[in-house]
Amino acid sequence: MENKKKFEIAKLATREVVLAIIVLIFIVFLSMFTNFNTASGLFSFMLDVAPMIVGALAMSLIILTGNIDISAGTILGFVGYTAGSMAKMGYSFIVFAPAAILVGTLLAGLNGIISVKFKVPSIVVTLAMAKVHLGFYATFLPNAGWVENLNDNFTWFGSGRVFNIIPYNFIVAVLVSVFFVLFMKYTKFSKKIYAVGGKRQAAIYAGINPDSTVIKTYLLEGFLLGIAGILLFTKSNEIMPSASYGREMVFITAAVVGGISILGGSGKIVGAVIGTILVYLMQVAMIYLGYQDYYQYALQGIIVLVAVYITVTKFNKFKKKPAEFLKGGQVT
């Protein structure tokens, strides 16, 4: 028993704390050399990182079940388009925000249903759906979904601040994060998520229905993506849905850096939040150092490889699971 406790603490100290320390180092570095320590710098930081946190949370849930969602970015686009066009038609925030969130929920749910009911690996479903979404924008939405010149009934939420520093967006993100950290710790549903992702067969024997759990997780993901979309798009006065294709990579990177195991079944939500902040700070640092954004692609790739390697290998060592449980290959 005592050994287990030590091991738990050791594991905790290894991941989340290390990440948090790195984040602090970054903050110090950035404050010294840029306008990060000013009110506007902080504001900008919080504004930008808020939707990323929520998006990474969404992705983490999916990864925990052993799945993935490459269409998260394009779903964001739909959320944005719904919100924007409704706002243009004159609806107020109270109306278009829930509508947009609903759209996100349904689309992600669709991914889940197809993947589960037809036993199609989520990688392929969501890869295809991303392209279907993109094609849908271009074909069926006016102006390929591009909405511009949005008014204050849309942008007030994104530009509003409390105490003149903290953006509304950030407050929402914090609330959502806290909620989910607690959710993942204390609810029964969260245990099901971990079980289904960890060892599916064991979950079935324990009486859990993996299919319904996965679908519900996708719905939850979509809901979170809806929120992330609102946070993301109310910042600016125009929306280009097709531009959000690719954001899912950032979410995946953040989740993976935060310790969410790509094999499913392990990882802490708090880690995902810290991971997001870290990834965002790295982006900011690179911008200030003058690196163009294409270095980000390379960096993201390397980070994911390193982070996954750490998670997957250490996991093996600590838990000493039989090799066949951790087979590489399919993510289903």
Binding site: I114, V124, A128, T139, M249, Y297, G301, L305, G328, Q330
Partner: protein
């Protein structure tokens, strides 16, 4: 309920059946487009289909191997991009076509080998590995090229993709046929092919049988990289310019072709001829769409839809197979 007794021969029969149906669909599509616009049936236009699917087919061949083992390679599109950029950069700075081609193929091979190393030596799943390397290769391509476009390729080079025998029959037919035959033989008539399918079913069983699965996995991903580089040469021959934004959509095209052709993403089951027909179907669709003045967006949309519909159809087939077997008991 007198369905087939021996599931493996039943499957075999089904495999042949499925591919013939695919062939029917292919011809059906050709006729369909021909009816919409008779221009489509002109020999020059039909042969143009072969010209535009060159790179897809070249990459789909090793992809069939990979998906048969239950893996996947998402980085093929950007490996092509990276190889093309290296080609362009080398050609521009040294002026030597031979050096450029060598550098290009080496790059693709290295990229594939990197994937192969990670996938065969660590527990990182192919999905995540190639997702990450996809980003990485794209980044490297951008870092090398910036927003530049490399041009000025020698005319002789362009001929590999644009030459036509008698002004009609594209030169692609020659080397594509060679590639296909090589891969077909490896897949269907060699122990490698058998091993691939076995790995897809149950990798550990194959390992215990003494086969070095690590080596196999390493080599198929490396091959994927090399073929991506070859594909980039063909692509460049047509486009005669190398930019970092090339090859973005090819991932989906290649995977869709392979899956459409009857190779299951679960692994263990597949068909090289199916891949060929799948690629041709995609080519016909693309050509047909452009003749109908439909843009590339719709094409991607339909491609994604086909992939999903195809996979759904497959799984329904699998379910029927299972219930059929149960019915026998």
């Amino acid at each position: 309920m007198s369905k087939q007794t021996n599931s493996s021969s039943g499957f075999f029969k089904k495999a042949i059946n499925y591919q013939s149906v695919l062939l029917l669909v292919l011809f059906g599509l050709i006729i369909f487009f021909g009816m919409i616009n008779s221009v489509f049936l002109k020999p020059k236009v039909i042969f143009n289909v072969i010209e535009i699917i060159g790179e897809t087919l070249i990459m789909a061949l090793p992809m069939t191997f990979i998906i048969t083992t239950g893996g996947i390679d998402l980085s093929v599109g950007y490996t092509l991009t990276l190889s093309a950029i290296v080609f362009g950069a080398t050609l521009t700075s040294t002026g030597s076509l031979a050096l450029a081609i060598t550098a290009c193929i080496l790059t693709g091979t290295a990229a594939g080998a990197f994937n192969g190393l990670i996938i065969s030596r660590t527990r990182i799943p192919p999905l995540v590995c190639t997702l990450a390397t996809m980003s990485l290769y794209r980044g490297i391509a951008l870092i090398i090229a910036g927003d530049k476009t490399y041009t000025g390729f020698p005319d002789a080079f362009k001929l590999i993709s644009t030459y036509r025998f008698g002004k009609i029959v594209p030169i692609q037919i020659t080397y594509l046929a060679v590639f296909f035959i090589v891969f077909y033989i490896l897949y269907n008539r060699s122990s490698l092919g058998r091993n691939l399918k076995a790995i897809g079913f149950n990798e550990n069983a194959v390992k215990f049988a003494g086969v070095d699965t690590r080596k196999i996995k390493f080599w198929i991903y490396t091959a994927s990289g090399t073929m991506s580089a070859m594909a980039s040469l063909v692509y460049l021959g047509r486009l005669s310019a190398a930019k970092p934004s090339m090859g973005m959509d090819l991932n989906l095209e290649v995977i869709t072709a392979v899956v459409l052709g009857g190779t299951s993403t679960m692994g263990g089951v597949g068909s090289m001829t199916g891949t060929l027909v799948g690629v041709l179907i995609i080519g016909v669709l693309r050509k047909g769409f452009t003749i109908m003045n439909l843009s590339g967006n719709i094409f991607n949309f339909v491609l994604g839809a086909i992939l999903i519909v195809g996979l759904v159809a497959f799984s329904v087939i699998e379910e029927r197979k299972k219930t059929a077997k149960k019915g026998q008991k």
